[in-house]
Symmetry: C2
Subunit: 330 residues, 2 copies
């Protein structure tokens, strides 16, 4: 059977352009013992992918090699199996790549319960939800009553961070890039305050929204919000650095704040990436499923159509054009 | 009996000037029950004092009030006692202040063994040594074989940090402000490499001295060294922020590095100040005494003469003019 896949053939410069990719038509092979054939139904697009495409960055996981199918997580159905642990009809989640079909031994794949929609899996139980949980709960160690600010709050990770924090009893303030996103955060997701970071009176709004200062800052963006929140941190505040999307598409990263406030307020700033924490995935999946089942977490998918829509579509993540967790339906 | 003390009467601007202080002559009072009279012999001068003088900074301990005797640690002898726990002739260390004599109930004071010179107490067993131990060992959690860079390495804290790290089996690189200081660090204190941060080829020297990258950075100064070392941090590196002396005397603190590297290398940056860790002092004093007795720690005191020498002398800390732990002999 023939299918399409997209290979990475060139390293990105400042932006992701169509010439980095090549769509190829492949033939599904005969399965060896313990192999199975997956038909992917939903494929996740995440900001971290830009890092995975870049060879020259000493990053947290090896880059995608040129000529390899582009890396991504996704939901797939088992349509043929010579593997003892997976049966035809099972739905799985894992790193499947930019491809319609894939052959797998099951390594790194998890079987999904039948009643969870694929959108919920990619929004909540996959990379963004795991990243949010790991960063907020394991690294940030929040306490009920504390104030959290999360930047990129309408993004796939930020929206999970804010909702988990609300479920844990924190005061939650988010920043996002449009009035519409802010309304969604406040009205649908229950954020205490959402602020459009493009507002002229951003600092005034941030100050008003954090009358008791800031105990936790979950950083997804960089930019002016970073400097303003840093200056409002309380003693023993924690900053979790998960993303710096403002700086992904520039070769002149903006300076960070001076470190003097680190001493005055005895702050801890910690950068992290999920691949260091895979061991923790089963436990976190359980926690996230409980929030989801308990109605504590809502999600919004922004779905593109067809494999090749990924090539242009991924840039929505860097322009802020997506309205929800970006994914491709195959 | 009459004695002199120095009160803080004005808040500092960018620099510490003589008009901030007033020398007064006081009379020793009759002692109440449980009080004792201390005659101070050695008084410590530390960079942190500038923060203690400033009212407008939301810092880790309350500022010295205007009209109060200036705060400092020191070594004193008990010359009169109505306190059960202290006898005439005992030597003590604690926060005694800029004064020749002081009345105390013993709160916060520790009795010293008779055979440790006062210089060793103020260099090793007092604020600088405790700060070095707390930051390096408790926060940095070094492992033998790792590479440490310490800035301000010839300073009172930095010189302790490097020596403790050597005793713990680390590769130790220090930066300091003169060739003479660098020679002292390498030849006397056993640093693997000491680099004059004023060198034109600072980056090249730093790179050569850290062929395997940097696992731990102990920050005392800020400035260009900060940015260079930050860029050489290894995955899971730890940065301990103890001082930012380059920025104490400016109203335009220099920008810090961009946070992207925090994620790529999963770094942790932690600011700290000793007053959060007083509970740990007895345990740390024991460890530091063991290093001292074992010949693992050398020290160099820069001694000024007489109480009022503190007024101008404290600025040596900010110009780099001191050649060792700064203190006043009374």
């Amino acid at each position: 059977m023939q299918y399409k896949a997209i290979k990475l053939v060139k390293r990105p410069g400042l932006t992701i352009t169509p010439d980095l990719f090549e769509t190829v038509t492949l033939e599904t092979p005969e399965l060896d013992d313990q192999q199975m054939l997956l038909k992917q139904t939903h494929m996740s697009l995440d900001p971290a992918m830009k890092g995975w495409m870049s060879a020259d960055r000493n990053s947290y996981i090896p880059p995608v090699e040129l000529g390899e199918v582009m890396r991504s997580s996704g939901v797939a159905e088992v349509i043929e199996s010579r593997n003892d642990k997976f049966s035809v009809g099972d739905r799985v989640v894992g790193m499947i790549g930019w491809t319609e079909y894939a052959v797998s031994t099951g390594a790194g794949l998890q079987i999904l319960p039948p009643d969870v929609p694929a959108e919920a899996v990619l929004c909540v139980l996959s990379l963004p939800g795991l990243t949010a949980y790991q960063g907020l709960m394991e690294i940030g160690k929040p306490k009920a009553g504390e104030t959290l600010v999360v930047s990129g709050a309408a993004g796939s990770v930020g929206s999970m961070v804010g909702q988990i924090a609300k479920a844990e009893g924190l005061r939650v303030v988010g920043t996002a890039g449009s009035a519409e996103k802010c309304r969604w955060l406040e009205d649908e997701l229950g954020f205490d305050t959402a602020i459009n970071y493009k507002s002229d009176d951003l600092y005034k709004q941030l100050t008003a929204a954090t009358p008791d200062g800031v105990d936790l800052y979950f950083e997804n963006t960089g930019g002016p919000v970073q400097h303003m929140v840093y200056g409002r941190m309380n003693a023993h505040g924690r900053i979790i650095v998960c993303g710096m999307i403002a700086d992904y598409n520039t070769d002149k990263p903006a300076p960070g704040p001076n470190w003097l406030n680190m001493i005055r307020r005895r702050l801890t700033i910690q950068g992290f990436a999920m691949p260091d924490h895979w061991d923790n995935v089963p436990a976190m999946t359980e926690k996230l499923s409980a929030y989801l089942m308990g109605g504590k977490i809502k999600y919004r998918a922004h779905t593109l159509d067809g494999l090749e829509s990924a090539i242009e579509g991924i840039n929505l993540l860097f322009t802020g054009g997506n309205t929800g967790k970006l994914m491709v339906e195959l």
